[in-house]
Amino acid sequence: MSDRVFGVLGLYRDADALLAAIPEVKASGFTRLEAFTPYPVHGMDEALDLPKSMLGVLVFLMGALACVSAFTFEWWTSTVSYPLRTAGKAMNGWPGWVLVMVEATILVSTFTAAFGMLFVFNKLPFFGNPMLETDALPAFTRDRFALVVMSGRGRLDVEAAKAALRAAGGDALEVIPEPERVRASAGWWMRTVVGLVTVCFLAGYGMDWATRTYPTVRPMVNMEVQPRLDPEAPDAFFANGRGMQRPPDGAVARGYLPILAATPEDAGKELVDPLPVTAAVLARGRHMFDLHCAVCHDRLGTGKPWLDSTYQAQPVDLQSAPMRDAADGFLYWVISQGIRTMPGYAADISQDDRWAIVRYIRALQRSQNATAEDVK
């Protein structure tokens, strides 16, 4: 304990006595006064010349910031980062964002009001307050009212202050010593830092060891573990032990009839385009052609591949005269079975889609070799 004085305290019976005492003590020449009361006493701000609270300004600024941030965040996620159209609404449909803006504003401004009051303006938590060590603490947090004459930089005429407080009706006078401020030694800092670092290392390695040693706990696995047969999984039901059975020999999948013709020329004589003449067929053909064929044959079928020169193959120009003269069945056979370096597409494109592609190739050929007859 130092012999420096923090202040001199006097207790008063009720709030009115305290309010009456303040001007009297002030008149005795003591101006640095602080009051401690068990409940907010109105009129204290005027008696003690307390400044106005600036909390409202802080709350307004933070609330406005939160509102603008919430709007910006919603705008950015909904239109820039992850534009997902729902219910046919515009991406920047701001009316739907208002409620989240309201909630964000309230969340931030209420917490600013509370924490700003506690931490910024009242400088709490503060456990080194000399008032916490006074004998009068139970009294002035319960039913008495304390007035403290504060010392300016440890200088205070203690006896005069006592006399002034007593003259104003105070009792249980108490001299509050300035608490000893002990500087932390280098050794203390050393021990603290080394201790914290050790704890961090131990915790980190402990977690690492635990996650390696013990398997991850997976609660509620019933979405992963289901009574169902995965592809290629074994199963005891069939004699051959396979879960997935091969189709019987000679089975033909719907839409994938095999071609019996041995050469494209034979196919050209035997096969006839079975599809009706509709715009839908042509559209489908265009879609499938752009998807599967255009990468090598080009969108117009000119045979100029989009791939660079490291790709050595030379696709056929579908606009060339032999191709224009070839029968539908010829093209169909080539698409299905492949020719030279071109692979067959029988397994990937269904029968009808292959015919639709043929139809579209015909349309392409006609469009690139149009005559005056075509526009009449």
């Binding site: 009720d14 401690f36 006493v41 409202g56 992850y82 303006f121 009242n122 709490l124 609660p219 019933n222």
Partner: protein, 461 residues
Amino acid sequence: MTDATLPAALRIAPLVEGDVSLGGLDDTVRTWSEKTPPRSWYIAITITSLVALGGFAAIGYMLYTGIGVLGNNLPVVWGFLIINFVFWVGIGHAGTLISVILYLFRQRWRNAISRIAEATTVFAFMCAMIFPAIHVGRPWLPYWLIPYPNQRGMWVNFRSPLIWDVFAVLTYFSVSLMFWYLGLIPDLATLRSTTKSRFKRVVFRLLSLGWVGNAWHWLQYEKAYLLLAGLTTVLALSVHSIVSMDFASSMVPGWHMTIFPPYFVVGAAFSGFAGVVLVFAFVRTAMHLEEYVTPRHMDLLNRMVLFLSCVMAYAYLMEGFTAWYSADPYVKYVFATYVFGGQWWAGWLTITLNCILPQLLWFPRLRRSVPIMVIVSAGVTLGMWMERYTIIVLSLKRDYLPSSWGGYLPTPVDWAILIGSVGFFLTMLLLFLRKLPVIAAWEVKPDIVYYQKQRTEAGHV
């Protein structure tokens, strides 16, 4: 000017009764915290915590086995869990309304009851928040509701009422928890200075953050309290409005109505006040708070229940009128099933318990009778649960297409989770009454001084 000069009929009873003092209030506030509570407290908490454990066991069973153990299925996809969610969110509105809106209206009688009302809010919201979390099909993923940067490169849909709900409920819970704690700080400071237990002194010293009641601190504190009151009022009104939009923005007949937001807010306030009456009917006598929570307090609370009951009746009538005036055969049909359908008792129970039973409270003597107020507010609590049952189940089971109509039958797991949540709420409440100051002493102390002064003046007259 005192009441003593007025004729007896015009005199208003003071808000404190008997020989009260500031210190006496502090001793009352920490009755169970400093002394051993009565045996009934131990019996009560044993029962409630066992019930709560039963509820959590049912939740565990549901999570382990799958959501199929509940009664909800197509077309009634929102069963007990969502009913319970709306129910508890409703109860949770009491604290804010009493503590905040009545504060803004300078109703001094809210001082003595605000602390327990705020605690009710916090615990009811703890119950409420369990339900949406366990109701999602994959209960290990509810954190996906929070918009956070993630590897999936996805964000939540900010146009969805369910996301508004997440924001509203989480904001409301965190703000009411913070508000409750903020009010506790000065009282915890009092406890810190007076408690005999060394352990409690350390805990309360930390929790009260070194509060010493400096006049400058009080000035800031009251300012913060006022700001919080204004902001939380907006919040309280917005939360149940948003909960109602989960329903109103869907196309289900019986839900798709513009009346829903105010209708839900009134319902929430109604069930909240009834819940607070119910709590005080028991706590007042059990903890000997009669001097500070007087018959006048109960009378005023019951008047609020009566007023809100009349507003509820008006809301029900307007809802029916909207259905009729819409001339929409589906909406009209669903409303007819509320009162004349296979589960007509649900609709009639709602109307009887919420609109007809509280009319008893027109009589001043009944407003002050503890058995009557227990019956009425228990009835209202049940009635408001039935209202949510009617809205959710009866609307969903009679959708537009008769081919998709269905039924709903809750399972024992549904019941166990509901009853368990009540047990959890009561357990938390009992723990609160045992450990923390049950009355906001710093708010009631000025009232005591006011009435003491009035009595002295009357004595001189």
